[in-house]
Symmetry: C2
Subunit: 231 residues, 2 copies
């Protein structure tokens, strides 16, 4: 017999709460400041009214700081929980891809729901099977149990590469299933070696060679493809 203290930290958050924390965490990393109601609403596909109500509750739980009309900022506990959701999400994606042959462009939607229901016990089993991996199938970093996030140390966005560069794709992020599938068909996927054969003056379109094939990639797309230059 053992007594387990249920503190605010041990209590499991609701699915919605987890999705809010994850979304806010990600938004904090791009806007690197306070996050706006509407940005959260867009990310989660709900109305701003819903976000207003929810952040009020999250503020009460001390997961974030909320200044009405100004925005929201995660507190340490909120950051920790947000990272943990991301950890579960990415481990699940990798597991599904590696062990159940689920294509990269399909793992996200499965993970989006399973991230809330796979127990820590199960997550740790997957982690172990996978050999404590650092990156998911899109090259996104997997926070470890303590929230430490690995990095692609020498990587740059493809949009900042120069003509003639030879590099390895290390991350392909923020794309929907359809676009991911298209890129994969073009040969643009994690681990692949590419050569930057040209960059258009006009709009920054990057032309790359992958083996025999050639692809043109818009600036917007290139900002979301990270590569490791090979010297």
């Amino acid at each position: 017999m053992s007594i387990i203290k249920i503190t605010d930290e041990t209590k499991k958050e609701s699915i919605s709460t987890e999705d809010y924390l994850k979304a806010i965490y990600k938004l904090m990393n791009v806007s690197s400041g306070s996050v706006k109601t509407q940005d959260i609403a867009n990310k989660l596909g709900v109305t701003s009214a819903a976000v207003s109500e929810m952040v009020k509750k999250l503020a009460t739980k001390e997961l974030l700081d909320y200044i009405p009309y100004k925005g929201v900022r995660l507190l340490p506990e909120g950051i920790k929980k947000g990272k943990l959701v991301i950890r579960r999400h990415r481990l699940i994606e990798l597991y599904l891809h590696e062990y159940l042959d689920i294509p990269r462009n399909m793992v996200h939607e499965e993970a989006e729901v399973l991230e809330h229901f796979a127990s820590d016990y199960l997550i740790n089993k997957m982690d172990k099977k996978l050999g404590f991996p650092q990156f998911d199938p899109h090259g996104a970093p997997i926070p470890d149990k303590n929230g430490i996030i690995p990095t692609h140390k020498t990587a740059i966005p493809l949009s900042e590469s120069k003509k003639g560069d030879v590099c390895k794709i290390v991350r392909v992020s923020n794309f929907d299933s359809e676009l991911l599938e298209h890129l994969e068909n073009e040969g643009i996927t994690i681990g692949v070696l590419i050569t930057v054969s040209g960059i258009l003056e006009f709009d920054g379109t990057v032309q790359v060679r992958i083996g025999e094939k050639t692809s043109s990639l818009s600036t917007k797309i290139c900002q979301n493809i990270w590569v490791d230059p090979i010297n």
Copy 2:
């Protein structure tokens, strides 16, 4: 572009609805008649009032027949959906046991939640990896995609065995995690060969030999252990 018709059959049921259908399906197989409010309430750990309300809704959806004060009987669509939840549950249990080294006595609670969230796509991937298995880690049958349920054709409950019988354990059912773990420690688990070394007149306690070891099993327990007599 394709048009998908959302009919009552294709629409996903809520978690609660799935649990109700599964519970009622199981209860129909033991009482083989109409199922009572209170039995459902006990199985699901909710009040009878909650069950009353819910079965009214399920009746509207034509998943079951409901006669107030009399009971409930699943209709074909309800049976189909109940079986599908069981299929998902058991495939998940087996997958977790086989591929993630989760012990038999722990797979149930994971499956109890994942059964509602693993997509058909994912379930079919697991099914394939497992080689379209017929039984879960407790020996319970896994309904196939069409709802066909395999059987242990020649199995009998251990409670009906005779002294001297040599048999193989094919199913260990209805036990909680703790009891399952205890039985496993005793060597009473799927696939194991046992010899019935005696049956007590007094209360039907069955004494079995497993290799060098000996165990005494109450009638109640023996009714839930199924064995295949080896001639």
